[in-house]
């Protein structure tokens, strides 16, 4: 066999890979930011008694959850431009894909957390004259948000890893960068190992941040 592990390959590829890490972080951050917004809107939509609102929210969640992210990405980047007549930059398409995809899962997280709050809480809020919106804002949301954090953390980590699928549209994130390096030096073992460790470092950091947030909220309330 005589495989010869070369540390030098790792050191040489790290600076290049870090530019990929930067893009991965950016896409994950903005994707999840928009995804959280979408998830909140559609998640609350799924708690609505209005059939149209409920129907729209359900359709979004089901169609996104029911199709592969890879297909969604390619549809966004290759499919839609044929209708729109303009090309979306890969970076923007990447963020959109992560946002739309995570939004569907986050919507379910939001719905579950909001519906887990005891009905008596709203009744108490209504009985002191608060409007529906005020009840949601001051009573339901703060309690529901606390319950959302563990499943949200899970989704954040999944979405971070999902950005690797964006290689198919040529976004220069971490996985793509790795691929490009290997295309030149053929050192698949060292490079993929390094890429994997970098993802691991990112997800571990993310879990840490989320754990910290959870504890902070625990103390505050």
């Amino acid at each position: 066999m005589g495989f010869d592990f070369k540390y030098s390959v790792i050191w040489e590829s790290v600076p290049v890979l870090l530019t990929g890490v930067k893009l991965t972080i950016l896409i994950t951050f903005f994707g999840l930011l928009i995804g959280f917004f979408l998830g909140t809107v559609f998640g609350l939509g799924k708690t609505s008694r209005n059939r149209v609102i409920y129907g729209l929210a359900s359709a979004y969640v089901e169609s996104i959850r029911g199709t592969p992210l890879m297909v969604q990405v390619m549809f966004l980047y290759f499919g839609l431009p044929m209708v729109l007549g303009m090309r979306v930059p890969p970076f923007a398409a990447g963020i959109s894909a992560i946002a739309i995809n995570s939004g569907a899962y986050i919507a379910e997280i939001v719905r579950g957390a909001v519906q887990s709050i005891d009905r008596g809480q709203v009744e108490a809020g209504r009985s002191i004259g608060l409007t529906h919106v005020q009840c949601l804002l001051y009573i339901i949301w703060p309690q529901a948000f606390k319950r959302m954090i563990p499943p949200l953390g899970n989704q954040f980590i999944i979405s971070l890893k999902d950005t690797s699928l964006l290689v198919v549209i040529g976004v220069g994130e971490l996985t793509r960068t790795g691929q490009e390096i290997i295309a030149v030096n053929f050192r698949a073992f060292e490079v993929w190992l390094t890429v994997a460790l970098m993802y691991l470092a990112l997800t571990l950091t993310l879990s840490r941040v989320l754990n910290f947030t959870e504890r902070r909220l625990e103390i505050k309330t």
Partner: protein, 243 residues
């Protein structure tokens, strides 16, 4: 103050209120008793529209509660509600629970709301617990905070839905004592309860509900010593023979 006419309420096929007529004057204390499932809690919840009704009218302080043009949020501030399960907001301190309504609904300035809130907490004997969260309070203390929260909006009527039923027996007294205090201040009150002693001493009128109708109503003296309806007598017998 409260005028209920021919009130019907169905849950699906089940008719829980079968034509209720009830007038309650300002300052009157009315206690509603009856077996579980008789509709007494539902009736109470109709007085601030926590339930939708099937037919009839409920008028509180001159406002038709179920009319389309009624501003429900404003009317609800006229009727303070105390729940069996307290329903305090667990993510807020006792004081914040009390002042949320005044600040958000009445637009009372925070400083002023806090001053009044502390006064109310003092009244229910919990000023020292103002900055404590509900999970650090006993059931009786929670319910006293809940009463303070309801009083904070200076309602014209207070509605109590089995306020002591979820409490350990030794904690019932402190809540009833606060309720007696509210009675002494001349508040109009409607109380659903199983506390017969409270009904006897604090009520101006006792109502016995059975199977969705008002089966009997009378002054407490007459009601307890001389029940006219056989179902009332039977119910009182069961309650008295409780261990």
């Amino acid at each position: 103050m409260i005028r209920i006419q021919n009130l019907h309420k169905n849950f699906g096929d089940l008719e829980v209120l079968k034509g209720i007529d009830l007038h309650i004057a300002a300052g009157e204390v009315v206690v509603i008793i009856g077996p579980s499932g008789s509709g007494k809690s539902t009736l109470l919840r109709c007085i601030n529209r926590l339930e939708e009704i099937t037919s009839g009218t409920v008028i509180v302080d001159g406002h038709d509660l179920y009319a389309r043009e009624t501003n429900l949020n404003l009317i609800r501030t006229e009727a303070g509600m105390v729940f069996q399960q307290f329903n305090l907001f667990p993510h807020m301190t006792a004081l914040r629970n009390v002042i949320l309504g005044p600040i958000k609904v009445r637009r009372t300035p925070r400083k002023e709301a806090e001053r009044q809130g502390l006064e109310l907490l003092e009244k229910v004997g919990l000023k020292d617990k103002a900055h404590v969260h509900p999970d650090q309070l006993s059931g009786g203390q929670k319910q006293r905070v809940a009463i303070a929260r309801a009083l904070a909006l200076k309602p014209k009527v207070m509605l109590f839905d089995e306020p002591t039923s979820a409490l350990d027996p030794e904690l019932v007294g402190e809540v009833l004592e606060v309720m007696r205090q509210v009675v002494r201040e001349g508040m109009t009150m409607v109380v659903v309860t199983h506390e017969m002693a409270f009904a006897r001493e604090a009520a101006d009128r006792v109502i016995f509900m059975d199977d969705g109708v008002i089966a009997e109503e009378n002054t407490p003296d007459e009601f307890f010593s001389n029940p006219r309806n056989p179902r009332t007598a039977e119910f009182l017998g069961k309650v008295r023979s409780r261990p």
